[in-house]
């Protein structure tokens, strides 16, 4: 990072909107951590596909790091950390997770959470008041998108009955052709389902 960049952007004040956006982001991360932790203990997950287990464990760590980063930024900006979960999607999880009976159910729920997180942070890049916050949101959104891409591939392979190909390394030659495209459905990441900045803000 060059000096000009630091000097001109980091001194910009963080607004109340920025703090709310950070808290909402942390609330989405907290929810994702909770869901993945619960999912990891489900019998059809913990006794199931080893690569999916690894993905859940690693992704949980990613979301823990994201929550910490968002809360650190919120506190540095003069706000409170958000230790709770996003109320809108917590209600969805409360209904969906206890009803999950298969890996497909868990993957579908995780997909929805990863997508809303990616959309929210993508939109937040354009709303953030400082370059530092734009960089934070912009460095997390692609990772949530990668989680989603991976889950879309897993979902596709589960759907086609090719669960043995959910492996690293996989048998690339045996993968169905549509696996090569299922992980990135849009040329531009959408933001129409982004959470408003106030959705998970500390009240």
């Amino acid at each position: 990072m060059d000096a000009e960049h630091i000097d001109t952007r980091l001194l910009e004040p963080t607004t109340r909107d920025d703090i709310m956006a950070l808290q909402t982001a942390a609330s989405l991360e907290n929810l994702a951590v909770s869901v993945y932790r619960t999912a990891a203990a489900l019998p059809f997950i913990k006794d199931g596909n080893a690569t999916l287990q690894e993905f859940i464990a690693t992704t949980t760590q990613h979301h823990e790091e994201h929550a910490k980063a968002f809360n650190t930024a919120a506190v540095q900006a003069g706000g409170q950390p958000q230790t709770g979960t996003d109320p809108k999607y917590a209600a969805v999880v409360q209904q969906a997770l206890p009803a999950a009976k298969t890996p497909e159910d868990v993957v579908a729920l995780a997909l929805s959470l990863e997508d809303v997180a990616a959309q929210t942070y993508t939109k937040d890049v354009g709303l953030a008041g400082t370059a530092r916050l734009r960089r934070l949101f912009a460095s997390v959104a692609p990772v949530e998108a990668q989680h989603r891409a991976t889950l879309l591939v897993v979902q596709s392979l589960l759907g086609s009955g090719d669960s043995e190909l959910i492996a690293i390394p996989t048998d690339a030659a045996a993968l169905p052709a549509d696996v090569g495209t299922t992980g990135f459905p849009d040329a531009f990441y959408p933001t129409s389902n982004a959470s408003p900045i106030s959705e998970g803000a500390v009240q």
């Binding site: 990072m1 060059d2 000009e4 960049h5 001109t8 952007r9 993905f55 690693t58 992704t59 760590q61 990613h62 790091e65 994201h66 980063a69 990616a118 993508t122 939109k123 890049v125 354009g126 370059a131 530092r132 734009r134 960089r135 949101f137 912009a138 460095s139 997390v140 959104a141 692609p142 990772v143 949530e144 998108a145 990668q146 989680h147 989603r148 891409a149 991976t150 591939v153 690293i168 390394p169 996989t170 690339a172 030659a173 993968l175 169905p176 052709a177 549509d178 696996v179 090569g180 495209t181 992980g183 990135f184 459905p185 849009d186 040329a187 531009f188 990441y189 959408p190 933001t191």
Partner: protein
């Protein structure tokens, strides 16, 4: 499916380019798990005359011509860099698909072929949006690859002897693109440019994830997207 890019929020006066200078991307990761294939000796010519060229000149030659005629100041330099990177990827993927069809990459997984086809279309969409920014600012659209590493990339493609080689190069380019867009989100001044970069970076990152999976690598290696492989503005030769 192609989601529309963000609504254009108006072109703001370009700020001085604040893009960071980072180390040039290193050689592509080479985890060759897709069996070795046929020779790629004839690849060089195919790559040099990619379908994104306007004329019979190679992209490198084309860029050298443009370099004497056009200046892209401020944020437009980042935009021009984005177009050039997108054009480079489209050229590489187009040539890789041609090589695959001709059997020069050995056995190519169907998933890699479909990836290259879909990703080419998306990169073309990205280039189109960025070229729109250039033309609205009164600058000509970039249709070649005015990047100083184009010869090196072309040579890497020429050496590709397997589908894994081609996929490793593709991964290198996708990682570079995603990181370049991440850097653009906090280094350009225009709202439209910032928002567009923000909507493209995740897509390039998703491309990279798919390629990692095909190459036998973990698809999400970092909790935060880094910028160590972002393209330097100095890579642009216009």
């Amino acid at each position: 499916m192609s989601t529309a890019p963000p609504e254009r929020g108006g072109w703001e006066p370009p700020l001085a380019s604040r893009a960071e200078e980072t180390e040039a991307p290193g050689p592509g990761r080479r985890t060759f798990l897709l069996g070795a294939g046929g020779a790629g000796a004839a690849f060089l010519l195919a790559a040099c005359s990619g379908e994104n060229d306007l004329s019979s000149r190679s992209p490198v030659d084309k860029a050298s011509v443009i370099a004497h005629r056009v200046d892209y100041p401020g944020d437009l330099r980042t935009v021009a860099l984005a177009v050039a990177l997108e054009n480079q990827v489209v050229g590489v993927y187009t040539s890789a698909l041609a090589a695959a069809r001709e059997g020069r990459l050995g056995t190519v997984p169907p998933a890699l072929t479909s990836f290259l086809t879909r990703a080419t279309a998306q990169h073309t969409d990205h280039a189109k949006v960025w070229n729109g920014v250039l033309t609205r600012a009164g600058k000509p659209a970039l249709t070649g690859v005015p990047l100083s590493d184009q010869k090196e990339i072309t040579a890497t493609l020429a050496r590709a002897a397997s589908a894994a080689d081609a996929a490793a190069l593709a991964l290198q380019l996708e990682e570079q693109a995603a990181q370049t867009y991440l850097m653009a989100t906090y280094s350009v001044g225009g709202a439209f440019e910032t928002e567009t970069a923000a909507t493209i970076a995740p897509v390039e990152a998703m491309h990279a994830s798919l390629l990692r999976f095909l190459l036998g690598q973990y698809p999400v290696p970092d909790a935060f997207l880094p910028v160590d492989r972002a393209a330097r503005p100095s890579l642009l030769t216009v």
